[in-house]
């Protein structure tokens, strides 16, 4: 890798070398290739089954939206992709979820590594109560991505730039991240996820705690990030799904009802339940 890094540096000194390396890997894959392949996923919370035989393909370099009424299992599905469900006592995931053809639940996969590859953004912005810099630097630090202070600073800067936050925080990197506005906090959290060069970014209702302007800002950002990452977003806003996603999956009562290109789902749903939901008849 060092040689690749070096010529990457020569190419563009402004952004972190690690990202460039990853970008090349991304670029080598055709857009639209399947990044995540879920087959017959069943999830149980104790005795209660939350997901029933969910099978879904998530394409690379695009935004896939998960929609459906509250409690239908969207978050549950999202959390099984990066195995955050492992941290919930009594939660059991059965079935196969592949990331680049590898089963994420395989014994050989360390959830710690998986979660670096599959970043997550939560409903409520949850920056660490530390400085902005520390928030972004934490991931690279624990994974040993940066070898020196300069490299770490470069990663922080490029991550904040990608998250569209750099201009607003460049002069106060060492102030607490919790002092930012809600929308800024959410972008900080996105920067934190980006900093470990993930391949996939999972977003669980990232705008539900934000005002419309901050929401628009995040949606723009999602659209920009789509070129480099595979993004899965849970949203309860139909309009948002229509605006940001290329693929939409509709969940209902723990089952995946239908999935397809966003345009088709919204204009020409095959299932009557989808039709009812997007026209606002329930949910």
């Amino acid at each position: 890798m060092p040689s690749q890094r070096d010529d990457a540096m020569a190419h563009d000194t402004a952004s972190a070398p690690v990202h460039i390396a990853v970008d090349r890997a991304h670029a080598s894959q055709p857009a639209g290739a399947i990044k995540i392949r879920a087959r017959d996923v069943n999830v149980f919370y104790g005795d209660k089954q939350a997901l029933f035989d969910v099978s879904l393909d998530v394409p690379e370099n695009s935004v896939t939206a998960l929609i459906g009424p509250s409690g239908c299992g969207k978050s549950t599905f999202l959390r099984s992709i990066n195995r955050m469900n492992d941290t919930i006592a009594g939660c059991k995931v059965v079935g196969r979820i592949e990331l680049d053809g590898e089963d994420v639940n395989d014994r050989s996969i360390d959830p710690v590594v998986l979660r670096a590859r599959v970043g997550m953004v939560f409903q409520k912005p949850n920056p660490f109560p530390k400085t902005i810099f520390e928030n972004v630097a934490y991931g690279p630090r624990i994974h040993g991505i940066a070898t020196g202070k300069a490299e770490l600073e470069a990663i922080v800067e490029s991550s904040l730039k990608r998250a569209g936050l750099w201009a607003e925080v460049a002069d106060r990197l060492h102030q607490p991240g919790t002092g930012l506005s809600g929308g800024q906090q959410q972008r900080l959290v996105i920067a934190r996820a980006i900093a470990v060069s993930p391949e996939v970014i999972l977003m669980d209702e990232p705008c539900s705690a934000l005002d419309p302007i901050a929401t628009a800002r995040i949606e723009e950002l999602i659209d920009e990030l789509r070129n480099q990452y595979c993004i899965v977003i849970v949203t309860h806003s139909m309009a948002q799904a229509a605006r940001v996603s290329q693929k939409t999956a509709f969940f209902h009562l723990g089952k995946l009802v239908e999935a397809g290109p966003t345009g088709e789902i919204f204009t020409n749903p095959r299932d009557s339940r989808t039709q009812d939901y997007i026209t606002g008849r329930f949910g």
């Binding site: 941290t87 997550m120 949850n126």
Partner: protein, 430 residues
Amino acid sequence: MTDAALPNAAANLRQVVEARLKKRHAQEMRFRLYGRMAIIVALSFLALLLGRIVTQGYSTFIDYQIAVPVHLDASRIDKADPTGANYDLLVAESVLAKLGEKDDEFGEKSGKVMEIMSNDLGFQLLKMVREDPTLIGKTITVTGPVKSDAALYFKGQIKRSTPQDSRKLDDQQLDWMDKLKASGAVTSGFNVSFLTNSDSTEPEQAGVLGAIVGSAMMLLVTACLAVPIGVLAATYLEEFAPKNRWTDIIEVNINNLAAVPSIVYGLLGLAVFINWLAVPRSSPLLGGMVLALMALPTIIIATRSALKAVPPSIREAALGVGASRTQTVFHHVLPLAMPGVMTGAILSLAHALGETAPLLMIGMISFVPGVPEGFTGAATVLPVQVFIWENASERGFHERTAAAIIVLLVFMIVMNLAAILVRRRFERRW
């Protein structure tokens, strides 16, 4: 129901509500009154307690010192063995000389003087002569405390109006003391020796230094054992342990342990630490170990609730960027819980500082006239010192009891303030 009935019912309802409203207000007023009364009662008890201790103890911090020139008569002190001389008698004779009196042949007067002059003066002379034998034959001035009974007279706690045979000092002794005071030989000042001396058989020479050092050493042992063990146990239970029947049982037991009477821990220490592990009796190490056992449940409970108060979103955030569970806990959760942990730890240590019963159980009630010689040496601690002095027969010790309580309370207040400051300083909002 007809349409007309409805507004009627509404009017009725309003009346009923209004009638009840008065009752509700009265109830509220009553409750507030009870609350205030309860607080007043509690505060007045506290004031009574503190007031009594302070009024009883403050006089200890004043002491009366006498300065007398003593002629070290070469014929009465053997140069080869200066220990053999009766320095107390020399002091007494010098005091008599100062009073313009002469000892009678039975030594009755000098005996009476010895009853009002601390033998500390004699000790000082002996020490000086031993260090520098050339002093023999010269006249030197020694300064030292008067006996505690004499001091009590100066402080007005032994009164001349009391009939002579029901007080410790007779009229002649009181006359002498008045004379000494008037002549300026006796002066009063801040009682430094109370803070720089350790326990003594003579009340005027007894101080709390040994007890303070003993308490500090014991508390250090307690803190070094209970805080890390308690915090780690709580962290494991809260963040790592599976939630099953066993952890439930452990949790219930820890909560019960916090309510076990402290003397039981003393028995445990006696059985396990002394008889089994052969830890030296009445040492700060042993006391610290017993108090650590006692403080553990409280620290565990405080730590667990501090950990519980850290929002789950922080854990998700850390896990989400790929931190392991251990990293999540030690980089984020535990640091955020630290103010709560520290407050809990300081308060339980403050509690341990005042604990007496289990220490009596493990034999920490010996007379220790000095600071402890290390963690395994014999030691006394502040609350036990209070207990020992309170049980002494001399009146001078009772005055010191209250003063030792004041010292103990000052340390406790300092610790509680520290706990409050820690909480204020590091308090976080999410």
